[in-house]
């Protein structure tokens, strides 16, 4: 693989991750958001794949497959089930409206570029230059958690954070040791399962699962 193709592929896939993240902020249809998440998972897997190809790293290749399976297929599937069970969560209800969210996202992306200068400086490379995109994904995800009211949006936000960190991992260190990678992916999966069970059970038991109603526990 030529160097320019590698860089191009890397930039394209990495950029796709961030674009998907921003799209989740933009779109209101939850179904679309989940689709974006699936696309992001696929892009992430592609990033890992490109890197694995470039570095000839078997571990990373396995990771790429794992990511593709879990984040590109399994997790979106679980989320679809949540949406199906909870008709109210078809459309998001942002605490901050969409244009403001997008502006904030832009600001967050700027912040992440500023922050990452020190990280890139340690070992400049084609991959590490792209780290700000990962960090921006983390921040956008976090922002989504803070500002989106539906339970699915929150799970998606959490996953965005996770994907962002995974992206950083790939770009900076070409993945963490496999055991850790396995563990963390499994953890993410389990968290989603747990959250899904919570939503499903609560829906079955208490009629609905509305984050707005979940403010009974307070001082």
């Amino acid at each position: 693989m030529s160097a320019s193709f590698y860089v191009g592929a890397l930039e394209l896939t990495t950029g796709a991750v961030l674009v998907c993240a921003v799209m989740t902020l933009w779109r209101r249809q939850v179904r679309t958001i989940v689709t974006m998440l699936r696309l992001q998972g696929v892009s992430l897997a592609l990033v890992a794949g490109v890197l694995a190809w470039h570095e000839h790293d078997l571990g990373l290749a396995i990771t790429a497959a794992l990511v593709l399976g879990v984040k590109g297929a399994l997790v979106p599937w679980l989320l679809r089930r949540v949406i199906r069970l909870d008709p109210r969560s078809r459309e998001t209800a942002p605490l901050i409206n969409v244009p403001a969210s997008l502006v904030s996202a832009a600001f967050l992306i700027v912040v992440s570029y500023v922050v990452c200068s020190k990280l890139t400086a340690l070992a400049p490379s084609a991959a590490s230059r792209l780290v700000p995109i990962g960090v921006a994904t983390v921040l956008v995800g976090y922002f989504m958690l803070v500002t989106r009211r539906r339970s699915v949006s929150q799970i998606v936000g959490l996953l965005l954070v996770d994907n962002g960190i995974a992206l950083v991992t790939f770009l900076l260190t070409a993945g963490v040791p496999l055991i850790v990678e396995l563990g963390s992916t499994l953890d993410v999966l389990l968290v989603v399962v747990v959250l899904q069970v919570l939503v499903v059970n609560a829906g079955a038991r208490h009629g609905s699962f509305d984050l707005d109603e979940m403010r009974e526990l307070h001082d």
């Binding site: 400086a121 850790v180 563990g183 963390s184």
Partner: protein, 487 residues
């Protein structure tokens, strides 16, 4: 080998509970398994203090004095918490608040929870440590929502979301440490570079800029799990909704296990960056936690939440102790972990009994406990005094020593601020306790149930008092454990 044994015991017990439907003996089995963990912990302590650190499972598990001490803490609190299992579950089954399936699940999840914590403290690899800490969240989610009430679901939702985000940041931090290690310029160590020992060895060569960001993210991330401000918010909700033994275990050890992770990373950061930066970080979160706990305790209306915020306070104290960083301070921090585990679990278990008996957790609705339920009220009161750091209980001596260590490194102003916060907390908590405990009321006959709760709790208090007066069996262990992460 021993450390593997520590993991296997609860794992086996969990599998048994998974396979065999709920029986009362399964409840007792979980207690026996905790006792086993405690026994292994003590054995580990003896081994590590005579032979130094021991590794097993091809170096995946590594027990040094610090890990062994943590195993003892986990074992002790787990024993206290699981001893309640048969009684609590039988009672809930009788009252129909739970089913046999859920009772079985409860035991399984408890064992899984304990296993995860043990893995966290015994893991040689900091990545595995992270995985284990994250796994505790998953294991405890359904424990928190055990009662499946709306509030319980709300609590566990908040718990999972907040902790997962937090712990994700910790993962980010861990990744950055790994990155710094890969590019430390001291040869390639590959997969082993997330091993704590190897990281400590190359710590002085780690890149400052990266390490700064890494340690900050770690403090923020693991800090969520520890319950440090500003990411402490899940704590009160989860602790107030979970079954009492679960709250006991969470507050008593889960928080300290997460703090253990911070201690490990702080040692690396100290070596890499010098003590000033990590110290500033720990001071900020520590003081912030104390402040938040103090203001939230003033007008607190729920006694379980009160206990939860007191955990925030104590974690803040631990952070300040760690900020001092001397071996004396770390020894005090460890002693504080043990004392806090004993005291807080006693409090949560007794408050669970109170909540069950009174049907409410509101302070305003519970009165004259000492007169009406002398045994329960007495235990709760004593444990509260212990929690407030009064002698002869061990929290006094650990708080004193932490303060002393902080002053010794010049942080007297920190001690001054924290003393102000502690005083406010003292006044608020005694004020709430006065409403809860004191007052006139007729004493009902002491039920047998109360006595069966009382024995382990009183033993815990006696143990805490004993440690507070003379910790001779622990003294050398504490010092050895402190030397692991402090110069």
């Amino acid at each position: 080998m021993l450390s593997l044994f520590a993991l296997v015991i609860p794992l086996v017990m969990g599998v048994i509970a998974l396979v065999v439907p709920w029986r009362r003996w399964i409840g007792w089995g979980s207690a026996v398994s905790s006792a086993g963990v405690l026994g292994v912990g003590i054995a580990l302590c003896v081994t590590t203090s005579s032979h130094g650190p021991v590794s097993s499972l091809h170096g995946a598990l590594r027990a040094d004095a610090l890990s062994s001490f943590m195993v003892v803490v986990i074992g002790t609190v787990a024993l206290l918490a699981t001893l309640q299992t048969p009684r609590v579950m039988t009672q809930e089954l009788e009252e129909g608040t739970t089913t046999r399936r859920h009772a079985g699940n409860y035991v399984v999840l408890m064992q899984a929870f304990i296993t995860c914590m043990l893995t966290a403290v015994l893991a040689a690899n900091l990545g595995v440590l992270w995985v284990a800490v994250e796994a505790t969240t998953i294991a405890t989610t359904f424990l928190v929502s055990h009662y499946r009430t709306k509030k319980a679901v709300e609590a566990s939702w908040k718990y999972v979301i907040l902790c997962s985000v937090g712990i994700a940041l910790a993962f980010f931090g861990t990744v950055l440490v790994y990155y710094a290690a890969l590019h430390s310029g001291v040869g390639k160590i590959g997969a082993a570079s997330l091993n704590w020992t190897s990281l400590m060895a190359i710590a002085p060569h780690l890149n400052h800029g990266v390490m700064r960001l890494a340690v900050t993210l770690l403090v923020l991330g693991y800090g969520t799990k520890v319950g440090l401000a500003p990411t402490h918010s899940w704590l009160a909700d989860a602790h107030s909704q979970a079954p009492a033994p679960v709250s006991a275990l969470m507050s008593g050890v889960l928080l300290t296990v997460a703090f253990y992770a911070l201690l490990r990373f702080k040692a690396i950061a100290d070596a890499a960056l010098g003590p000033a930066y990590p110290r500033a970080l720990f001071i900020i979160v520590g003081l912030l936690s104390l402040l938040v706990a103090a203001v939230l305790l003033i007008a607190q209306r729920d006694y379980k939440r009160m206990l939860a915020y007191s955990s925030v306070e104590h974690m803040g104290l631990l952070a300040l102790g760690a900020a001092a960083g001397s071996s004396l301070a770390i020894a005090a921090v460890l002693l504080h972990m043990l004392g806090h585990g004993l005291t807080k679990s006693t409090l949560f278990i007794s408050s669970g009994e109170i909540a069950h008996a009174e049907g409410t957790t509101e302070i305003a609705k519970v009165k004259a406990l000492l007169a009406r339920r002398p045994v329960l009220g007495g235990i709760f009161g004593c444990a509260l005094l212990a929690l407030l750091g009064l002698p002869p209980f061990s929290l006094f001596i650990s708080e004193f020593t932490m303060a002393r260590a902080e002053v010794n490194v010049g942080l007297w102003w920190v001690v001054a601020i924290s003393l102000v916060c502690l005083s406010v907390i003292f006044v608020s908590m005694t004020n709430h306790a006065r409403h809860l405990l004191l007052g006139a009321g007729s004493a009902p006959a002491v039920s047998l149930r109360a006595r069966s709760v009382a024995v382990p709790l009183v033993s815990a208090l006696v143990a805490s008092a004993f440690i507070g007066v003379s910790a001779w069996p622990l003294l050398s262990l504490l010092q050895a454990a402190a030397h692991v992460v402090a110069p």
